[in-house]
Subunit: 160 residues, 2 copies
DNA sequence: GATGAGCGTTAGTCGCGCTAACGTTCTGGG
DNA sequence: CCCAGAACGTTAGCGCGACTAACGCTCATC
């Protein structure tokens, strides 16, 4: 019997993860997401920023001032976490937080000139980081990849 | 006039997240990974399992019995977390944990008959869940997607 | 004017990836 | 032969992201 031939380790000696595991889209996805998150987080940290900063600044730039609740739904940040993010942005002078005179429950958040400059810089930083993230893919492939991702995300957010 | 509802919201009414945000591969990736994780976790929970269970059982099936450390590197589970996962598997009778007579530092983990049956079931469950995950893509597209993911993951794991 | 809803805020939960440290056991060099 | 160092299993704990619960305040409605 082949019994002893043994062992479990394939001849090449390396400890391999089984194919059924390695091939699963869900696993590839979460592995890549972890790498990606780290890459982005570290890159932004070097610019004294985090991804939430970018999300908020971009929302403000694109759609103008808004309440914290609005920013939450625009950027996908939980309203519970919004306060902390805004504190950091205010601290850095990138954003202004003022009570809304028309509705005293609200704060109106406005991007500052400095915030706009910072945003431009972050855009550049992110471009570079995405170059790194997608390095092995050709431009056409990157496009295809993003399109596939978009379709999947759209599908899974529509069906809530 | 559209009076009060006006504000800064675009005419279609929906609160939209800016394109520069929505389009970023990193963001799509982490969003999809979150959805995917949830989908998988919930699906497996219905079968009284978690993804780590699958990882361990698959490794055992594929490469035979091994120490906890071996299983760690095969499955990508941290050795700190391995013990908990194995406790759950032992509890369910899917796996046996016995001290290695040749090296008393080690435990030898073996998959049981019941574990093998469970694994087959989980394979089916995961197939279905991936059908759901990749629903909007054609078979060819799913293939392309997995290939792109694989290349990216490979690239980012080789460069450690 | 009371009820209910929206807003901002604080605190806390849960899972995941990861680090630190410890006791036990094996291995290799002096 | 012994001792230093490494590997193993285990426990405890951190940091972070997504999320829930609850509270006080303010607005809108009846």
């Amino acid at each position: 019997m082949t019994g002893a031939e043994t062992a479990d380790v394939p001849e090449d000696g390396a400890l391999r993860t089984p194919d059924r595991l390695r091939r699963r889209a869900s696993r590839l996805l979460s592995q890549l997401a972890v790498r990606s998150d780290r890459l982005i987080a570290e890159g932004l940290a070097r610019a004294d920023a985090r991804k939430w900063h970018y999300a908020v600044l971009a929302s403000l730039q694109e759609y103008g001032p808004g309440s914290q609740a609005e920013l939450s739904s625009r950027s996908g940040i939980y309203r519970s976490d919004m306060v902390g993010v805004l504190n950091e942005l205010v601290e850095r002078g990138l954003v202004e937080r003022a009570p809304d005179p028309d509705d005293r429950r609200r704060n109106v958040i406005t991007i500052s000139a400095r915030g706009r400059r910072h945003l431009r810089r972050l855009d550049k930083v992110l471009d570079d980081l995405h170059d790194e993230l997608l390095a092995p893919l050709s431009p056409a492939e990157r496009d295809r990849f993003v399109r596939l991702l978009t379709r999947l995300v759209d599908h899974h957010t529509r069906n809530s």
